[in-house]
Symmetry: C2
Subunit: 382 residues, 2 copies
């Protein structure tokens, strides 16, 4: 055993600086940026900072503010712009800085999340136990790329396996969890905290260990471009390439690559917003495959409802006679509140039973995380 | 079956716009940003673009340029800045835009990669077959969070499982693959394309199906902060919390949670730059655990070499008598070239055998991807 010498410490620091500078492509000259910490979650507030010495102005937008709001940061003498936002409620928020008319991520925050078309920074304010990273056993989230006969380009999904996942302990039930319009298959695992929520529910004995499959819901343009991505929002599941991919490729993939149960009773589907419409279409057209259903902040638009009646009237009659969970949640100020209530009215007219949860708040991930935490414990109960 | 009506299409578009606007927190007003595609990989060039109507200047930096270079973009009448970079060689490059003195990711590129302290955008230029996303079966990369007695804060690793991974087909050999200083456990899977490279090698029958474990190499400060992250670059593996975590927690975790072989002959370790020093220390101190070793663009600094001799002289003598692979690669203009050659001289003085590859180029991921593609086929051969 030995004590580190000053000489060795110098060498260590030199090596670290050199390697870091070359590996990361950073600037060699020291700058306030090198040690800047952003965001800083402090008691009762969050401080956001950005080093931008030559900027004329920097603004902050994000899910902790009302939609569309942009709040100016103040510039310090060291070229660091900062803003302390008070009273940020516990939760997870996506945010960007606006600089020179561009919306960009926080350069000092390595927690970033990719939606369908953009990258945003993430900050988590602890305080909602089921959404916090607790010292409980953790599952794993895998990024899975696969080919589908439905699409010309490779497709991707995120797959959560529960803590201690092992084929010996399976087969596991599977929840198919769909994202909203504008989002990607990553978002339930980042801003949605699906894995963390499941870890906590499973550790508390509130949810059964399950696999959660989070597919990509947008349908790419023929050239595979993101910019050309389309959203299928009609009522005919079989016309939707997303559904054809889910039924024909994703489910067989999951049931052959994972220790996944193939019994219908061990299969659930849920989705938010656009993913809720997809969920509704699929749950009605394929009611034998998905006895557990969750629709978060969604429902068909008025123009589409007659088509739902026409295509799925008999499916709804059938659903009224079957034992299944139909769980619907929406917020009091949710843009999807009217559609949700109209959907439930249609279900009721066909004799379908459902569970309804109206919460405070709007069309937000704060609600969708809450809905997932309410919904998952109800699944796969005999 | 029915044809979609104009009315339905309107509803679809309305729904898509509403949901997308609310879900993504984007601006409702149309702007050139909404349809901007960046980067665009075209024949012989890459076009980078950023909508920043109020910026005074925008520059581009990245791994396709010499280190430290920043090239100005030109502003168009629509507020979109752009730059066509000619003659970008096939490969994968991290890049950022500089705006107002801040280095930020491309707001329109959802391919972003997180190093230890920053987020950068990624662009891939096809043309190196083993690094391209080919229509072959794909493995999966999982993000695994775990607790270690060595650290007060949760730790994370990325774990690649090969195409068709199934316990029935195991046990699989395992490569532990370490990142460089400034990088994170994510980087081998993004800019390093480890999963893609393995997929291609396995599909071609050139590498055995294997699990690749990519741990986090930096040691957090006592408060867990990234900014306080330290780099351990001495020669004493047992003093390095990273090694204690790898040997005491990661390997047992992998061998109990995956269909991983527990035989030493089925275990390999490799690392680049800082990860190469860690690899060297571990490979010498634990030669019985890792008979397959790769050191990419690394080697001890001159001040540390006497300590290596003192601590590991007998280990090197022992290694000379054992059958093992010691594979060392470095570039002609690599900042680690001298350290690599001095390391090999020390190995040779102890009678150790090794394979040496000197390539064009420097301390770059272009070389590290190439080294992985050379190294992986040599592993786990009887």
């Amino acid at each position: 055993m030995h004590h580190p010498s000053m000489r060795r410490m110098r060498a260590t620091l030199l090596a670290a600086a050199l390697v870091q500078a070359f590996a990361a492509g950073g600037a060699l000259a020291a700058s306030p940026n090198d040690t800047l910490v952003s965001p800083q979650v402090q008691a009762g507030r969050v401080v956001f900072s950005m080093y931008a010495p030559e900027a004329a102005a920097v603004q902050l937008s994000g899910e902790m503010f009302d939609y569309g709001k942009a709040v100016p940061l103040a510039k310090g003498a060291d070229g660091v712009w900062s803003l302390a936002v008070p009273d940020v409620a516990p939760g997870t928020y996506r945010y960007t800085f606006r600089i020179g008319g561009a919306d960009v991520v926080d350069p000092r925050n390595t927690e970033a999340t990719r939606s369908q078309t953009r990258v945003q920074s993430l900050v988590h304010v602890p305080g909602i136990a089921v959404e916090d990273d607790q010292p409980v056993p953790h599952g794993a989230v895998a990024v899975v790329e696969y080919r589908s006969p439905v699409f010309a380009v490779p497709r991707r999904m995120h797959v959560y396996t529960p803590p201690g996942y092992s084929p010996d302990k399976g087969p596991y039930p599977v929840l198919y969890l769909l994202h909203g319009g504008g989002d990607s298959d990553e978002n339930w695992s980042t801003v949605g905290r699906a894995g963390i929520i499941l870890d906590n529910l499973i550790a508390a004995g509130k949810a059964r260990p399950m696999i959660v499959v989070m597919p990509a819901g947008h349908v790419p343009a023929a050239d595979g471009s993101i910019a050309g991505a389309m959203v299928a929002m009609g009522a005919d599941a079989d016309k939707d390439p997303f559904t054809r991919d889910l039924i024909g490729t994703i489910i067989p993939y999951v049931e052959s690559h994972y220790a996944a149960s193939t019994r219908a009773r061990d299969r659930a589907i849920a989705g938010l917003s656009m993913g809720g419409v997809q969920t509704g279409n699929i749950a009605l057209a394929y009611s034998d495959k998905f006895p557990w259903v969750g629709i978060f902040s969604s429902g068909w638009f008025p123009d589409v409802r007659p088509e739902v009646e026409r295509l799925h009237g008999k499916d709804m009659d059938k659903a009224a006679k079957s034992e299944r969970l139909m769980w619907v949640g929406y917020g009091k100020t949710d843009i999807a509140r009217d559609n949700s209530k109209a959907m439930l009215k249609m279900f009721a007219a066909h004799g379908m039973r459902y569970q309804e949860l109206e919460t405070e708040g709007g069309h937000t991930y704060a609600n969708w995380r809450r809905y997932l935490a309410q919904f998952a414990p109800l699944l796969f109960r005999d």
